[in-house]
């Protein structure tokens, strides 16, 4: 999977036609084969743009006004990233006319060890769901499977699970990199940053970390697209996907096989009501 040439051509065309102010893609790191997000405003930088199976970041994150200031953006998205983008569009965070979307039919990206990333192995939608231009050959939607770590965790005793999660919260340093790297955490003032609030603990204790991470994951329930940007950002290497995948599997099972961001104008599991919703929990 190397689409660097195509992306460079599209970017040059967009700048030449004055359709964009920013282009957001990937750049090769000079010291190893990893890549970094790359924001350009100057067409002279275009030759540095790359796209390979090392392009791991979810660039939809850069549509937040902090980064691209609500200007016109050319953006490279993979399948999962496009689902996040779809949600950002639905939730009125970006204007559709302000993004030129280059959708990649993704073959899966590699993790740090050079193996195919777990979320790519379990990917349900490798093709872009929203795009202006598509690169690659679409392979279509795949079957949803419950995450392997969640299945394994479910077999363990409750105390063992509690201890495991306690160790996650203990190792959290509350840097909030997970939140800042999530394209769907766009609130101008996050509830976890309310310093005068006594509900959300500002102190860096493990109970504070638990509160913060649980609240964060519940705010993303039914919205998380499993791009794992948070997990890649975590300096303590915490398995944050467990929180999201658990929510996702419960929602998939109970909310008519709902998966976030797959369709245009789909506002998420908790916003929909249907007469055919199961009501067997009502006595």
């Amino acid at each position: 999977m190397d689409y660097s040439k195509q992306i460079q051509e599209i970017a040059s065309k967009l700048f030449a036609e004055n359709k964009i102010d920013y282009f957001v893609g990937y750049k090769q790191n000079s010291f190893d084969d990893s890549q970094v997000p790359f924001l350009i405003t100057d067409p002279a930088e275009i030759p540095k743009l790359v796209f390979t199976d090392r392009s791991v970041f979810n660039l939809a994150n850069y549509l937040k006004p902090d980064h691209t200031k609500r200007k016109r953006v050319g953006l490279v998205v993979k399948g999962c990233d496009s689902r996040a983008l779809n949600l950002m569009l639905t939730e009125s965070q970006v204007k559709r006319e302000n993004v030129y979307i280059i959708g990649i039919c993704c073959e899966g990206v590699l993790n740090e060890k050079g193996e195919k990333a777990q979320n790519c192995v379990e990917c349900v939608m490798p093709d872009p769901v929203v795009y202006d231009e598509m690169i690659g050959t679409p392979t279509g939607k795949r079957e949803y499977k419950v995450n392997v770590d969640i299945r394994e965790l479910a077999t363990k005793a409750l105390e063992e699970r509690a201890d495991y999660f306690e160790s996650i919260f203990e190792n959290c340093i509350r840097c909030n990199a997970c939140r800042h790297s999530c394209p769907l955490c766009y609130c101008a003032k996050c509830c976890l940053d309310q310093e005068t609030s006594t509900l959300y603990h500002g102190a860096n204790t493990s109970s504070g970390a638990m509160h913060a991470l649980m609240t964060w994951s519940l705010h993303l329930a039914g919205r998380c697209v499993d791009c794992r940007n948070c997990e890649k950002a975590c300096p303590s290497h915490l398995p944050l996907h467990l929180l999201h995948k658990q929510n996702e599997s419960v929602i998939y099972e109970n909310f008519q096989q709902h998966l976030a961001g797959m369709e245009k104008d789909d506002r998420g599991a908790f916003y929909k009501y249907s007469l055919s919703d199961p009501d067997d929990f009502i006595l």
Partner: protein, 347 residues
């Protein structure tokens, strides 16, 4: 510089470590989720004093914890009463194994700010009651640049005892401070030869090989001189363009020392906490009334880069950045402060 050196081998070193763990409250790098963090250990098998630098968190939290209780308070109709917390600021002696030398230097740098206008007694106590045993890296990490900065890595006295894996297969335990010498004499019960001029040569040889393994090299005095005049540089905007404004770099930095104060209150009693804060965070400079002098990320990055490489040096005569590369390794988008300052200074 103290030259008290003891020669030993791998098993001798293991024995030394085991004796320390048996006798003292010992902290060492413990692996969890693929990252090493300094935790209290009771057995040598639990930890790895030779943990790779790229995978190891800083030792800072043992001196400046990620969160600490400041006071307790209670409100009733007569007003608010304030009391001391039950937190123990460390009274006994403790030993830390496997500290990286850049990290130890970080503590020396932090000392400056903690004994400046206000003396932080908790921090001072922790410093006084801790003995630092450092293992010198055999090879530089991909983001390391400690040898390029304003301190002498080879003759650093930031740690009390230094362990060097000699090229001749021997392991050298070198006491660097008086405290370290006393500690080795008292606690190294095994039979070992006291090192000579030759062991000093071996330590030097090891250093030369280590120094040659650096990918990143910087001309520090040039960078420092140029940055002093570059407050208005537009380059800060370019270098910070992909920064996501999280707090990672500051929280894991061995020398970042900003903190915030928060209260946790249930009904009418509560605790006031002091926790890490970061200048890369958009709320950091937000004032009551709503004004924020650093509302955009390039201004925050300018503050970070100049504080690390200019302001602290001006005030305390030491560079705030110690070149450990932790920030670049942990940064979600791999921004390296080395690249930032070099790019801004155009070197």
């Amino acid at each position: 510089m103290n030259v008290f050196i003891v020669e030993t081998d791998k098993t001798g070193l293991q024995k030394f470590y085991k004796e320390i763990i048996g006798k003292f409250e010992t902290y060492a790098p413990v692996e969890k989720f693929g990252k090493y963090d300094y935790k209290k250990v009771s057995k040598l098998d639990e930890c790895d004093p030779d943990s790779p630098i790229e995978m190891t968190m800083s030792v800072k939290p043992l001196f400046f914890p990620k969160t600490a209780k400041v006071m307790k308070f209670r409100e009733d109709n007569t007003g608010t009463t304030v009391s001391e917390t039950d937190e123990d600021p460390l009274t006994g002696q403790r030993v830390i194994l496997g500290v990286k030398h850049c990290d130890a230097r970080g503590l020396q740098v932090l000392d400056q700010v903690y004994k400046w206008d206000y003396i932080d007694t908790d921090y001072q106590k922790r410093r006084e009651n801790t003995l630092i045993i450092s293992t010198r890296c055999d090879k530089a990490g991909t983001q390391c640049f400690c040898t390029s900065l304003d301190y002498d890595v080879e003759n650093s006295d930031a740690h009390d005892i230094r362990i060097v894996n000699g090229l001749d297969g021997k392991i050298y335990i070198q006491a660097v401070t008086q405290k370290g010498e006393g500690f080795v004499k008292e606690n190294l019960s095994q039979q070992s030869a006291v090192g000579s001029q030759q062991s000093l040569e071996e330590i030097k040889k090891h250093y030369q090989l280590f120094e040659a393994s650096f990918r990143l090299k910087m001309n520090y005095s040039e960078v420092n001189a140029k940055l002093q005049k570059l407050f208005d540089s537009l380059e800060f905007e370019t270098v910070s363009s992909n920064c996501i404004s999280c707090n990672t770099c500051a929280f894991i930095c061995p020398t970042c020392h900003c903190f915030k104060i928060t209260d946790e209150k249930i009904k009418d009693t509560g605790v006031r906490y002091k926790s890490y804060d970061s200048c890369n965070n958009g709320y950091f400079t937000l004032m009551a009334g709503g004004h924020n002098p650093r509302p955009v990320k390039y201004r925050r990055w300018r503050q970070r880069a100049l504080h690390k490489f200019v302001y602290y040096k001006e005030r305390f005569g030491m560079n705030l950045c110690v070149g450990c590369g932790h920030c670049a390794i942990s940064c979600p988008v791999n921004i390296s402060i080395f690249d930032v300052v070099n790019q801004v200074a155009k070197i």
